[in-house]
Symmetry: C2
Subunit: 159 residues, 2 copies
DNA sequence: GAAAATTTTGAATATTATTCATTAATCTGT
DNA sequence: ACAGATTAATGAATAATATTCAAAATTTTC
């Protein structure tokens, strides 16, 4: 296991703040905003990518546009072989599953899933979850409305 | 309330697939991949943005790099004034809160929160949640390990 | 099936990305 | 504190991409 040293200064934080708001901001703009040369920004961004501070750039797509109207969270109680997360990895492979978290207590996972509708969710539970033998039980929570959904991190001013 | 018509064809889906993987892919590359002119891609991407199919571009930042080691989900039971989501909106304002979902049953919200550690979580509950009078009770689930965490949507081949 | 609307193309221009030698700044060990 | 070593930033030159737009192609509409 590699111990990676992130060593971020205030300029890095500013770059990250900007990139969090709009990942397509170009180096020239960032440079202008921070009063630096574009080439310096390029260097820093590359370094942030290499150090795995920036993990990827993604486009946030409107789920409605793809007819994925239903968001659900499923608590899954499972009997993993000790010390493994076999079930977690199987869950992660399901395309409709956006998140899989190993949670404290109850030998459980919390899973976030998007489907077209309730029928799609039932399908998924039957066809995908149903194939995973180690699953003992599930409890599903339906989202009626999402008030906020971002992955932006809070980057405080000082450090 | 505007009824927006998304009208996406296979080319749009391909663009979205590419953009989901890497939001910084340039039009020239997309054009090459799809065998089209860059200017056509530009037009389509602009249109996807205007139609709110693409909502934003974000950089996924490693929470560890910002010392946000603890991820938690909090179920919040609250007494909103009927027909409002006052509590949801207040929750959404908390910077450490990444997601707020109004969930079925129990007059509840499900909230996703990142903090430095358990102490940070306690602080947040005391200082931020504590200020919201309408909250009746909370139940917190700590994430031990995240196996998968994306917001990519599943874009099936045919449509 | 023809007119209208939309989309694509391709070439020209503007802007940005990238490279790299030089300069500046920071760090290290004494 | 300082000299040498390392790291980072600059600025100018080049490569690549973004953007614009008139013309051509395609699709839609009735």
């Amino acid at each position: 296991m590699e111990k990676i040293e992130f060593n971020l200064d205030q300029i890095d934080y500013q770059i990250l703040r900007i990139m969090q708001e709009n990942a397509r901001t170009n180096n020239a703009d960032i440079a202008r905003e921070l009063g630096m040369a574009p080439s310096a920004i390029l260097e820093r961004v590359k370094k942030l990518e290499q150090k795995q501070v920036i993990l990827q750039y993604n486009a946030k797509i409107n789920p409605d546009a793809l007819d994925q109207k239903l968001l659900s969270f499923i608590f899954i109680k499972a009997q993993d072989p000790i010390g493994t997360q076999k079930v977690g990895l199987l869950l992660a492979k399901i395309p409709e599953v956006q998140e899989v978290h190993d949670i404290a207590g109850d030998d459980g996972y919390l899973v976030k899933v998007r489907t077209h509708d309730a029928a799609g969710l039932v399908d998924l539970m039957r066809n995908s979850l149903g194939k995973i033998e180690e699953i003992i039980s599930t409890r599903t929570t339906i989202v009626l409305e999402t008030v906020k959904e971002e992955q932006k991190l809070f980057i405080p001013k000082k450090d």
